[in-house]
Amino acid sequence: MKGKEQEFLARIQTHKGILYKIAKMYMDNRDDQDDLFQEMICQLWKSYDSFRGDSQFSTWMYRVAVNTAIASFKKEKKKPDKFEITTNNIGEHDEDSGLQELQIDHFYKALHKLDKIEKALVFYHLEGYSHIEIGSNLGISEGNARVKLSRAKTKLKEIIQKQGYEF
């Protein structure tokens, strides 16, 4: 059991970056992100016996992690003030990495205004999934996945523009 647990945790360690990206997509403050991160690891462990190795570990992990994030609700507690992205923050970043960092900050901020299903669509899209793969993971048809992804992207674009960023 301990060996299996260590093997599992080693795999999670390898993929923890993507798990945290999912947590950041679904939760807008650090405490909730950490809670969801732990929740995903817990659900992955509970489901680990069902991982047969037919697919890559990461493929299986994405599905369980996204399903967990979609089924999770925020804790009912007072939220601390969120970090607001303003033009004043731009100077805090270096030219190249700073620009990408700012873009990703704006992107996450816009993502938080999408619903849970739209977030999943955008996540799979960014991870390079085809429409048919996205549909398969969400349990919807390829056409439905295509239409919903397109709408989610349009919505995301509008939100980013409303944040005062050119798109």
Partner: protein
Amino acid sequence: MNFNEIQSAWNNDPENGGKVPTTLDQLKPAGLPLDKIKKNLQNEFVYQIVSIILLAFLPQLYRFDPAFYVWYYVSYAMFVSICAYYLIRLLLFYNRIRNYNANTKDSLYETYFDIRLNIEMYKTFSFSLMPFVLIFIAMFVISANKSAMIEMIQTGIFPQAVLIQMAVGFVLSMVIFALATEWWTHTFYGKYAKEIKSLLDKLKEA
């Protein structure tokens, strides 16, 4: 900014957050709706046990007529059996391992129907207790007005006002009990079902 830039920023995002524990015992998960329902049920289990223990002393605490003792404890035994049956069923139900391997739609449907089933089971549980609550109240009322009640039973004359009071009391108790059950299930369980149903609606064909 455009989607290519977002994709590039996403790929290059050096995400370092998230601390993987060294052992799984250190995990503290509690965010999923079924886990929250399970916690609510566990709390209710404790309250039920306390209530059952307190109800065992009700005849002594409220000085019921000793003639009611046998009837009270027969009803009480049935009441305890029903409580035990439903509470064990509800707890076993939520100790099942959830399936998050399936696709999102199937996983959400499974969760949704589990919550709906829990709500219906909970309502059945509550309504099955209603007759016992009425019996206990009736015994309490009769014991509190013993001499007047004996007189009415012996003469066979029940004043109309008393009959109306009993009927109104009976109907009101039923309505309040039913409304309280609806409110309770909606507040503690229904909101989760509603949220998951809205997610399922979003997965419908565009």
